[in-house]
């Protein structure tokens, strides 16, 4: 195998590959990226056995072939090469070496045979549809903060992507929760997605997927089966196993009867929460919200470190209420709001609170209060 490729193109492919490979692994081949050159393209394939990413890059292929090298090392080398350089990769299978030449720099890396590389079994996808990059970006960006890291409730370690009944008919919906907060984001149901099985997309896949979604114009080909999900652009294909578990019935969690309505400028609110939380103790970052007519007082009282208080002008017309929240959760939820005011719907100081953006019901957040 021998091919030449522009450094920037190579870096993009190799960077994606090295972020998929598991840093600490006991199986050497899993640290490697499989490089396959044929025709006028080179495929870069990396896997951690749960996720597989294949990146297709244009190159001048002199001699076809395939080999595998350490993904992290290759990435480091390419990263340090000068911008615009033309890089030539040559596989010497007899010596078990891949040489990398760019200008006056040359490197030789040990290779492992391509036959050892685990290629993810292909699978039958029951649903295939196209979704726009911005729609998917919103679905995952606004839910991922609520993904749980708890190992015992592994079925919460991802975003539950499924078809649901929204206000105006069927929608494609993403839900994530860690038991303390929940995010529910709806987007228009793409054509062909109606019969899709609900799947839990793992946290790491969500992170890798994000790199495919930067281009506003891009259409992403999505394929879903009971066990796998695939996202593809013309250049990159990301295939991932989904979490084998049942996502809990989140609809029970979303309060329907909360009547006390608070409307507040989200950015102002977030800044104020951040300020008063400065004095709270590391362990329990509780912020108290005291609501009276058109006035919100945020306060923190941490016996061992200090106290803080801040008042905000808000729209509130219901009975006075005092309720506490974890400052971090409030901040994360408030920072999801980017267009309109944040609307909070409260019941009592012990019940889950709902938050949405204006009257937009396609993005709904729930947060559990804290005793203060």
């Amino acid at each position: 195998m021998k091919f030449s490729i522009e450094r920037g193109v190579l870096l993009k492919a190799v960077a994606q590959a090295q972020s998929v490979v598991e840093r600490r692994n006991t199986i050497p081949i899993l640290a490697n990226v499989l490089i396959e050159a044929e025709g006028s393209d080179v495929l870069f394939r990396a896997t951690d056995l749960d996720i597989e990413v294949v990146d297709k890059a244009p190159a001048q292929v002199e001699r076809g072939g395939a080999t595998t090298v350490n993904a992290v090392t290759l990435n480091e080398i390419v990263r340090k090469l000068p911008d615009g350089a033309l890089v030539t990769l040559t596989d010497d299978s007899a010596a078990g070496r891949l040489t990398i030449d760019a200008g006056r720099s040359n490197f030789a890396l040990a290779t492992l045979p391509k036959e050892d590389f685990p290629v993810m079994a292909s699978s039958e996808y029951a649903a295939n549809f196209a979704a726009s990059a911005p729609a998917l970006r919103r679905l995952f960006d606004k839910t991922k903060f609520a993904i749980s890291t708890e190992e015992t409730r592994y079925y919460l370690n991802g975003v539950y992507m499924h078809v649901a009944d929204g206000d105006g008919g069927k929608v494609l919906r993403g839900v994530a929760t860690d038991g303390h907060r929940l995010a529910r984001i709806d987007t228009d149901l793409p054509e062909g997605a109606a019969d899709m099985a609900g799947v839990i997309v793992p946290r790491k896949t969500v992170g890798e997927l994000r790199k495919l979604l930067d281009d506003d114009e891009a259409q992403i080909a999505v394929s879903v089966s009971e066990t796998k999900v695939r996202f593809a652009t013309p250049a990159i294909t990301l295939t991932s196993k989904v979490i084998d578990g049942t996502f809990p019935d989140y609809t029970r969690v979303i309060p329907q009867g909360n009547t006390r309505r608070l409307e507040v400028d989200a950015a102002e609110f977030a800044k104020a929460v951040d300020r008063v939380a400065t004095v709270s103790s590391e362990r329990s970052r509780a912020v108290k919200l005291s609501l009276e007519e058109d006035r919100l007082t945020l306060s923190v009282n941490a016996p061992d470190s200090g106290a803080a208080e801040e008042e905000l002008a808000v729209a509130y017309g219901d009975e006075p209420l005092e309720i506490g929240f974890n400052a971090k959760y409030l901040l994360e939820i408030a920072s999801q709001v980017d267009r309109e005011n944040a609307v909070f719907m409260f019941n009592s100081s012990g019940d889950p609170t709902l938050m949405r953006e204006g009257n937009d019901t396609t993005a709904v957040y729930v947060v559990m209060p804290m005793r203060v």
Partner: protein
């Protein structure tokens, strides 16, 4: 050079016997009256209590121990002369010292004696850090004005009182930090009083073996020996970064200790690191229902201790011992500390469900650690488990009922399994 007679407590300056009582038990040191950190270690504590309570034993070699494990717990100095040591198997001890009197330990008596000594130490300083029943650190900094006598005198008075009033003897180590005080108390046992001053710290340690350091056991000694470290002198030749690179945080500690530096304070309230309860079954079992009952009972015990101490744990641990004595231990971090039995039980139960090793088991334990104050516990409910808050409320009500009518007034059905 300042000197102190440990028999009549006369302070004087100069060589020879005590000018007041003429006896030879004199401690003499340049820094005698300026050092304030002390370690008191009772001499053959359990055996001494036994000899005191049974004068027939006074002149005989006494070994306290036996019981089920059949090892020496403590032995008197007469037995030590024959080579008997703590933790030695009983049969071996009796081979070395066939005429020894073997006495079963009476912990109540030792606890009573220990409390009496503790009360005497509390009169010297508020900063007493007990290490076990028979030894403690004391920080006497700033007490000279209060007592009208320097720490050395007060410490000599303490051991004299222990002997006169309790019939027990102890040895004192006096120095400028905990590490050296503990080393010193062991230099001149029994009835010793040793001083390690700042001036001679380095020269004193130089040729001493590193096993003097508390926590450097046989295994650590081996790994140090591999690095060519046998004595404190060997240690001081090492660069600080090299020690750190090779031994991690232990290396950092060694670097300081090699120079006789120890910044740990004497602390009268050693923080509780964790709470746990365990039970050994009358009969080994792998019946999940029975084990579940035990998990609940242990969780409830841990929870009630946590509530009594105003503590809450962030980590829940489950411990199982299999019939072949192999140990299984699993732990899980919670997002927030808890003291609720229900939460501890559910977490331990989750851990139990992850255990792959088959039973039967002979022991089960549940514990919490990474303790925090109860103030920060159980503040947040769980969206996905709306019943949790109701169960926590039921538990708080149960606690109130028990506080009023006794522990048996109300019991969960599963505790009866």
């Amino acid at each position: 050079m300042p000197a102190l007679c440990r028999d009549c407590l006369t302070s004087f300056d100069g060589p020879g016997r005590c000018p007041a009582c003429g006896r030879p038990r004199v401690t003499r040191h340049e820094e005698l009256h300026s050092l304030t950190i002390a370690h008191m270690d009772c001499d053959a504590f359990f055996a001494s209590v036994e000899k005191r309570d049974n004068p027939d034993l006074a002149d005989k070699p006494v070994i306290v121990g036996g019981g089920r494990r059949g090892v020496v717990s403590t032995c008197c100095y007469l037995a030590r002369i024959k080579g008997v040591r703590s933790a030695m198997p009983m049969f071996q001890a009796l081979k070395l010292c066939p005429d020894a009197e073997v006495v079963k330990p009476r912990f109540d008596a030792y606890v009573a004696a220990s409390k009496a000594i503790r009360a005497m130490m509390d009169e010297l300083t508020p900063v007493v850090e007990p290490l076990s029943l028979d030894e403690a650190f004391m920080d006497l900094t700033g007490t000279e004005k209060l007592h009208g006598a320097p720490p050395a005198v007060m410490l000599a008075r303490l051991t004299k009182r222990m002997k006169d009033e309790l019939g027990l003897t102890g040895s004192i180590g006096l120095s400028h930090n905990k590490f050296l005080a503990k080393v010193a108390s062991d230099l001149d046992k029994p009835r010793g009083f040793s001083v390690i001053g700042k001036a001679e710290t380095r020269s004193f340690l130089a040729d001493k073996p590193v096993r003097l350091i508390w926590g450097i056991g046989p295994v650590a000694q081996q790994s140090l020996a591999k690095a060519g470290i046998h004595t404190f002198d060997d240690l001081t030749r090492w660069d600080r970064r090299d020690l750190h690179a090779r031994f991690g945080s232990t290396g950092e500690r060694l670097w300081h200790l090699a120079r006789g530096e120890d910044a740990r304070r004497v602390s009268s309230h050693t923080p509780v690191k964790g709470l746990s309860n365990e039970t050994t079954f009358g009969e080994d079992t792998s019946d999940p229902d029975i084990l579940d009952g035990h998990i609940w009972r242990m969780a409830e015990k841990v929870s009630s201790r946590a509530k009594a101490k105003d503590k809450a744990g962030r980590v829940v641990t489950l411990k199982l011992k299999r019939a072949d004595h192999s140990l299984i231990s699993k732990r899980l971090s919670l997002r927030h500390p808890t003291q609720i039995a229900d939460t501890i039980y559910r977490t331990a139960r989750d851990l139990f469900d992850q255990v792959n090793e088959p039973g039967p088991y002979r022991l089960l334990g549940v514990g919490i650690s990474q303790l925090a104050h109860a103030d920060s516990a159980d503040l947040e409910g769980d969206l996905l488990d709306p019943g949790a808050e109701a169960r926590a409320r039921a538990e708080r009500a149960t606690d109130k009922i028990r506080a009023r009518f006794g522990d048996d007034a109300i019991v969960k059905g599963r505790a009866l399994r």
